[in-house]
């Protein structure tokens, strides 16, 4: 992408950034992270005093060097860290739809139907493409073929994969290329119609062309979903996100509009990371 093009995207005239650059946040808050501390093993805190809000219909990027806790926070939001026995939130709350998601009355199974996740290493099941996308609906007990057909087509279209696979829906999902498999995983996630999609470095295992396709996909998806994306790639954050949060060693250093973080950050630590002085 040439300098001129990248400037165009970051300039206030570009549609996705216009409203937030000039008006106060009007979108609803979907996820509230309130003074959260988290540790994997008792004694060593991996996240400290994290407070941030994720707003509806926006793409929020979590950036920072390796090991700073951004993936950990992401996995807290859909309670995937519950799989690790000793890990847990030691202080604070995460609220979705004004409900503390770690409340004992909250069922993680139901939570995960509303908060989907796309993983770093694409992991489609060794089933057919159709069965991969229909999996999330089948486990809810939906068996009617017409319902499943319609959902599969809708999801594959949302994931930008429909045209490429519509005549081989019975082929194995593992026969696709890497970028296609990741899009299949995205289709699988949106089939369940979650409100929030969490993406953990979805493009890090892909080549640049597939990455571009998926970034374009994310721009389209944010019309229907709220997206939180962890990324190592700062340029990716500038390309696709509305808000960016910079993490370092388990603390949230700064969170603001993407354009502001990358052009005029308030904190020196942020500026050091962005200018590449370390990382």
């Amino acid at each position: 992408m040439s300098d001129q093009e990248s400037e165009e995207i970051l300039s206030p005239e570009h549609s996705s950034v216009t409203t937030s650059a000039q008006q106060p946040d009007t979108a609803d808050i979907v996820i509230e992270v309130d003074d959260v501390n988290f540790s994997y093993v008792k004694g060593t805190e991996v996240l400290r005093d994290i407070t941030m809000d994720i707003r509806k219909g926006e793409v929020t990027a979590l950036i920072g060097p390796s090991g700073c806790g951004k993936s950990t926070l992401l996995r807290c939001i859909n309670r995937m860290n519950d799989l690790i026995p000793t890990a847990g939130i030691t202080k604070g709350e995460i609220r979705i739809l004004d409900t503390d998601i770690y409340d004992p009355k909250v069922d993680p199974i139901e939570l995960r139907k509303h908060v989907g996740m796309v993983f770093q290493k694409y992991n489609p099941f060794p089933k057919s493409i159709y069965e991969n996308v229909a999996f999330g609906l089948r486990i809810q007990g939906i068996k009617k073929k017409s319902v499943l057909d319609e959902a599969v087509e809708r999801s594959l279209k949302l994931a930008g994969l429909w045209e490429e696979v519509k005549d081989r829906l019975d082929a194995s999902g593992l026969g696709l290329s890497g970028g296609q498999q990741q899009r299949l995983c995205i289709a699988r996630t949106v089939a369940v119609e979650p409100k929030i999609i969490l993406m953990d470095e979805p493009c890090s295992a892909l080549d640049p062309i597939s990455t571009t396709i998926i970034e374009e996909l994310i721009r389209q998806l944010k019309e229907e979903f709220t997206i939180v994306i962890v990324t190592h790639n700062m340029q990716q954050a500038t390309r696709i996100s509305d808000k960016t949060a910079y993490f370092f060693l388990g603390e949230l250093i700064e969170m603001d509009e993407t354009i502001k973080i990358f052009n005029s950050p308030s904190r020196r630590e942020t500026e050091d990371y962005i200018s590449g002085r370390f990382g």
Binding site: E110, R112, F135
Partner: protein, 401 residues
Amino acid sequence: MAVPATEPPFADTADAAENPLYAKPSALKRRDQVVSIVLAIATYAILACAAFIFLDIIRKGAPVVLESSFPFVNTEFFTKSPESLITFEIEDGSYFEMGSSDYYEWKSENPDVRIVEEHAHPYSGGGILGPLVGTALLTGICIVVALFIGLATAIFLNEYSSKGKFMDSIRLAIMNLAGVPSIVFGLFGLGLFCLVAPVITEVPQERAFLTIPILFTDSYLSFEGWGTCMLAGGFTLAVMILPVIIAACEESLKAIPMGFREASLALGATKWQSISKSVLPYAFPGMLTASILGITRVAGETAPIMFTAALAHKDKLPWQDIPVNEEANFLAQSGEWTGGFLSQSVQALPYHIYTVAARIPQNEWTRPMQYGSVFVFMVVVMLFAALSIYLRIHYRKKVKW
């Protein structure tokens, strides 16, 4: 112009005449050669022993079992149960050898012929139908029980249990089960399945360990054991093979990448849904192939079934001539715990081989039966091993991730 003399490399060393890169004899190198020879000898010695055993069995057993003309197998060997071999001479000098059932038939067809000399050789005639059927039934019951319990245990240990010292000690206990001598398993099976296993009956025996009357019926839950029967034998063999099956199932489950479970859970599946739909179908082929090898091993066990299931001699096959009363059913019926199909005792091939090898006199008459039985057993084991290898290759091609 004189060319400046260049010195050969290493010219200043003591043995300048030798090239330092060439081989030099030394104690280290001699040891290296000796070790490789010793290792090769050890391997070929094992190969020689195995070859000797197999060739001997084939040489002496194949003529008993195989024939040169259609149907290429000695059908009598496979369709008759073991019986005595009668050798006799009649007055005109002709000499006959035949199994006891054939002998009685011959006698009734030739009532006037005078028999000069006759000998009966126990266990040397007839065939191995009874033992074959018995081994097949025992192995069948063993597979069903062992796979069910073993798979459940493996899933629990791998997917559900919390990691910790307690679980490690459980795993250690299971692995130790593999080291228990088979005769101890036989006694265990005798003590548990034959003598105190629960039975529903209307006439509990005096010696029952515990008797609990069942409400609203005339029956009792009586802990009096199943007696000597294939059910007890099958369960005992199942307990014996449990460590192998659990290890095989755990291996297969661990080989499934964590990503499948995570992806499934992230879509809102329950734990069992994730396991049953995203893990088990892909682990199953591996479990099957590893289990088949273990089952082959257990099919040849003698000690466990000696006490719990096997008889040396039995006239009827298990499904023939079961004593029946009006309310008979498959397992047992009211009245007495006898008569159900699974409560029949059986002959078994390994026990039969033990009998003909160790419990009866050795002479030229017994040899064909001995070698024939062993040959058949060897062929069965090889077929199972081949099946396991074939399945492994087939499934490896089918599912790749």
